[in-house]
């Protein structure tokens, strides 16, 4: 009879499904979308090496590099954030937003590589461009 009382209490409490656009509250250590701070990034690419889901791609040239992140491939494991020595990466404490087309949430940053002096003094941004859903030209792993 325990199950009947459980069903009755379920009926009294009402539905717990969230109707769009309402989102559930997240817990303390919730790992959401990876946020990128281009001002702090040194272009070491350790995040790309730590990303087993290949959500982060990185391509570099002599004076510039391109960092991109595709949440559609991300498993939100947080290993990239843990490995980022410059603290350029963090994870949002919110559910990922709803998107309608593949690649809508993809972010690509084309940055100029900082000179060593600027890198050590934790860096003013040189150039940061944000283009959504634009894949990088090449991926030189």
């Amino acid at each position: 009879m325990n199950i009947l009382s459980m069903l009755w209490s379920n009926l009294r409490r009402g539905v717990i499904t969230f109707r769009y656009p309402a989102r559930p509250a997240v817990s303390e250590g919730y790992r959401g979308l990876v946020c990128f701070n281009p001002e702090l990034c040194t272009g070491c690419a350790i995040c790309r090496f730590r990303c087993t889901a290949r959500a982060i791609t990185f391509s570099s040239a002599k004076n510039e590099f391109t960092w991109s992140y595709d949440p559609g491939q991300c498993t939100f494991c947080g290993r990239c954030v843990e490995g980022c020595k410059a603290h350029a990466l963090s994870q949002a404490r919110a559910c990922p937003p709803v998107y309608l087309h593949i690649g809508d949430l993809k972010r690509v940053y084309a940055l100029n590589r900082k000179p060593p002096a600027a890198r050590s003094s934790a860096a003013s941004p040189i150039a940061a461009g944000v283009q959504s859903a634009a894949p990088p030209d090449g991926d030189s792993h």
Partner: protein, 304 residues
Amino acid sequence: MNLTTALARMLIFPGLLFAVPAAWFFLWVERKAVALMQQRIGPPFMQPFFDFIKLLGKTTPMRSGAGGLLMRAWPLIAVSAAAGAVGLLPVLPSSGGFEGDLILLLALMEVPSICVIAAGFSSRSIFAEIGSAREAVLTVSYNIVFLLAIVSIAAAQHTFRLESLAQLPATPLRWLGVLAVLVCLPAKLHINPFSLPNAEQEIYSGPMIEYAGPELALWELSHGLEWVAATGLVATLSVPHLKDPWLNALVFIACSCAIVLLLSVLAAATARLAVDTTARFYWQCTLLFAVLAISSTLLMRLRT
């Protein structure tokens, strides 16, 4: 019953015109009630109708030969038989002529189960064959109890005429029989804990796995009509016949809905049983119940 009344009963109430929307409504009530008891939103009111229309618009895969022909025929036979069973329910009074009796009603109610078994084996899918075998075991298990209960009700009232059965006052023995029929309904309607033949997670809906488009729509409709016929039978046997035919129809509908809700609670509260447990339940526990009902009836008849 003249021809006009007979046609009105078969085609309007409680026949096709009532039965088809009622089938969709009962399917919705069952799904919605289970969803609410599990704190889900559940489907919108028109969902079974939308599903039906959507499936009608899809194309059916081409099947050649006798197997293909049979696969097309089974859902049609099942829908016709289930609709016929609903049309026989004595909700409105008839005036002489063909009334239909309990044996015909039971035969028509069994046809969809037989069609499901045959459809599974016709489709030659391993999952469908497993589903059909389960359905066959289930049918053999619950039908002994179901038929004994019906026979005990008819024997207690000295008639197999549906009309007469509906009009006679209920006796304690009849209530015992109705209770036994009620125990068989979850197995007859394939709901938990006896949802073995159409287990989605284990055998991908069993006999229905190879069906798509309009044929699947007909299967869904046949399932809904089975709901209407089975709950209607219990409603007819358990609710006293009233003088006012419209009030009688309203009570019939309300009682059918109450039975659907009761079965939904059972479906939400239980998990699926294994085949051997199901067979044991009907052969060991419920059979005693039905034998008690029929032996009491026979003893009563001998005494009188």
